[in-house]
Amino acid sequence: MAKKLNMRKRYELLTRGLGWEPTYQPKEKVFAQEAYEGIKITDWSKWEDPFRLTADAYWKYQAEKDKKLYAVMDSFAQNNAHLNLADASYVNALKLFIQGVSPLEYAAHRNFARLARQFSGEGAQIACQMQSIDELRHAQTQIHTISHYNKHFHGMHDPFHMFDRVWYLSVPKSYFDDASAAGPFEFITSVSFSFEYLLTNLLFVPFMSGAAYNGDMATVTFGFSAQSDESRHMTLGLEIIKFLLEQHEDNLPIVQGWIDKHFWRAYRLLGLVAMMQDYFLPESPMSWKEGWQIYFVENAGALFNDLARYGLRMPKYHEIATAEADHISHQVFGIFYNYIHAAAFNLGLPSEAKMNWLSEKYPDTFDKYYRPRMEMWAEMAKEGKRFFNMGLPQLCQVCQIPMGFTEIAKGEPMQVAYRVSEFRGDKFHTCSDGCKDIFDHEPEKYVNAWLPVHQIFQGNCGGATVPDVLAWYHFHPEDGGDYAGSADEARWKAMKGTAASSTAAAKTAPADAA
């Protein structure tokens, strides 16, 4: 009679011992990326598998998940279920998603394959390739889900062309290029830990719950379905950190530095999500600040308490991010409100009801700092003087968001923050101490940033005028501008039978940008 094997032992027998031990080629050539970051691994066999999912079980469960997902997608399209949305302004969240998030899923796919090639320990190697293939799933299911929306709304027609070019999409792109250009251990610390473990809940959970709240069943389904993979990814993120810290004490300062850096980098990127959550969703289940409290302050607090035994501390500037939770969504909204004529989504000033919701959720800041500004903008628009910033903004050399964040930690929330560094005789501007630290640590890396505004000035973006550049982005005139009076709004009214025509022209962009 064969002896019974439990899950752990069985998984170990099926996979362990596979790790390649080169003898014909030097190890440092076969696994060329394993050493150059200074990380010391003494024994890969100490790796604890985050989930013991064999390949065949993976195929089975993933196929089952996808069967459900595609059934929802098909019925959504068949029934034109976009008509059931709370409001078409909600779709703007999906625009930002397909333009800025789906390409990151794809990049993660390619880079986890790198780790699967470069890590010599089979436990980590297999976990990484499972994540690689999952990330491809996410990119592709998002393309497929949003494909239906692309047929009925504007701004989603050319997402991958846009991702490589558009000014605000250089924020997510440079974020991921940063990790992709780094060594494998920095990449995994950045993506699996600083992003997936610490912050991904903030992107997906409230966002998908928001989709459910706003009648978008297709997105709920892909989002939640992706999250079921994400739980595995988060576990990998935690395991890699524990593993690196247990392997060698010299790894601690390196890993801590990466966590500090990529926390800040990911946090800045999530500024876009903060705006999406507080300003795009017609019905919001949770404010950015509430999400931050639950998913960062509480959860990361517990996590780092757990990790303190390894000598790891909370990421540098986390307290600044928490202080900024009262401001960040409003500030990012303000930035985009000024430049919305040059975006491929629509934005509108919040309604009175929405402003009241914001006052309630942000009692310390919204009425004091941001409501007056919104009311002034509304007044100007009413007088036909809608404010658009026709200049090109100065971008932070690191996060690439237009300079507009303020000195919140210094108690001057109305004072825009600027930091300057010098490198090889040139001046480089950053938006915060967090971004400045990142620049100063590796200036030779960040001087290479493909900064969209610089590129426009250098004539690399289709021409010298705003319309030239927008055409080079493949934007259509109806893609951007205020939501009120937009082509999407007109179409939505026609869809709902509340207005006759779907061809009303958008008069939401300044005359000279049209």
């Binding site: 596979l18 076969v30 390949a55 996808d66 390409p103 047929k151 440079s174 992709s180 060594g183 869809m495």
Partner: protein, 332 residues
């Protein structure tokens, strides 16, 4: 609520994403496969030079000597994107699961002649390490390759290898009634026995190749093109004839996999070779060089599997591979 659907605007604005419309026109809607793969990979305006390859960009056509006007000229005849891939594999794994169950429940290996069991341990089980090496190569192609139609298939291919290594491990456990003896012995043999050293050496040399397309040719065309027919067709047929027909079931996945997998590698070779004489020449040169070396490497393995008929079996397999290559426009 109004039920007058006709009054509402439900006519779509467009049928396709623009990058697909540029390829197939505005009026022909793209398939799920086309949506999933075409033009998804970034191509330009990268921010930072990769620390692991500073002289090239994050995605760069210069990582191979093969030149293509359009890296999306090749498409997968199976039209695999993630979901169609896992759906296909889920079906196969279900069959494999019931195969393993049947063999176990009916004690189908009990009547296996001891000598045959020993030969199976020696020939089949070390191949889990081959699959793992092949997996590493395909992960590399997925990362450094160019164009999603190719790189996503390398990802699937790599993942399949883990599945197959696990199936081989299960065969070892089945042969040993859950003892680890064969797994350890096979690793030892893989690392030290002269039979496997030619193949292991070739794999290690393929790991360090700079050109990802060459890796694809070496691994997925030449090595697989020799090994799969030799072992999973030839050897397993012989085992079946000698009283080990259960192994037809236990290696069903591998046998079907090779047939299915050749469909896309054939298509890729064909499209790449027909692009230019230079490409065809390069493919022929790579195939030629590696075929010479791998034929030698496989000789002791063929002898282990077929005894005196080893050389002949290998020659047949090689002739089949050459014919297959010739059909795709590669003259070796």
């Amino acid at each position: 609520m109004s039920l007058n659907i006709a009054a509402k605007e439900i006519k779509p604005l467009r049928l396709n994403y623009a990058h697909l419309a540029r390829r197939m026109g505005e009026h022909k809607p793209a398939t799920r496969y086309q949506e999933a793969v075409y033009d998804v990979q970034p191509t330009t305006n990268f921010h930072y030079p990769p620390s692991w390859d500073p002289s090239r960009k994050l995605y760069d056509t210069a990582r191979t000597a093969i030149v293509m006007q359009d890296w999306y000229s090749f498409t997968d005849p199976r039209q695999f994107y993630y979901t169609s891939y896992v759906a296909a594999r889920a079906k196969q794994q279900e069959i494999m699961e019931s195969n393993f169950e049947l063999v176990e429940k009916r004690h189908l290996l009990q009547s296996l002649p001891a000598e045959l069991a020993e030969q199976l341990r020696q020939v089949l089980i070390p191949l889990r390490h081959y699959e793992y090496g092949a997996n590493m190569n395909n992960q590399d192609i997925c990362h450094r390759g160019y164009g999603t139609t190719i790189t996503s298939l390398a990802s699937f291919n790599g993942f399949d290898r883990i599945g197959m290594a696990q199936y081989l491990s299960r065969i070892a456990l089945l042969l040993d009634e859950n003892e680890e003896t064969s797994l350890h012995a096979a690793k030892q043999a893989w690392l030290e026995a002269p039979t496997w050293q030619g193949l292991r050496h070739a794999l290690e040399d393929s790991f360090v190749l700079d050109d990802w397309f060459e890796i694809l040719v070496v691994q997925d065309v030449v090595m697989d093109g020799l090994l799969y027919p030799l072992i999973y067709e030839g050897f397993i047929s012989q085992v079946a004839a000698q009283g080990g027909s259960a192994f037809l079931m236990l290696t069903q996945f591998m046998n079907e996999w090779n047939e299915e997998n050749s469909r896309w590698t054939n298509q890729l070779l064909k499209v790449t070779a027909s692009e230019s004489a230079a490409n065809a020449e390069l493919l022929a040169q790579w195939t030629q060089t590696w075929l010479v070396r791998l034929e030698q490497a496989f000789m002791p393995i063929a002898q282990l599997a077929f005894g005196e008929q080893g050389a002949e079996q290998l020659a047949t397999v090689k002739a089949t591979l050459l014919a297959r290559l010739a059909k795709q426009g590669i003259k070796v």
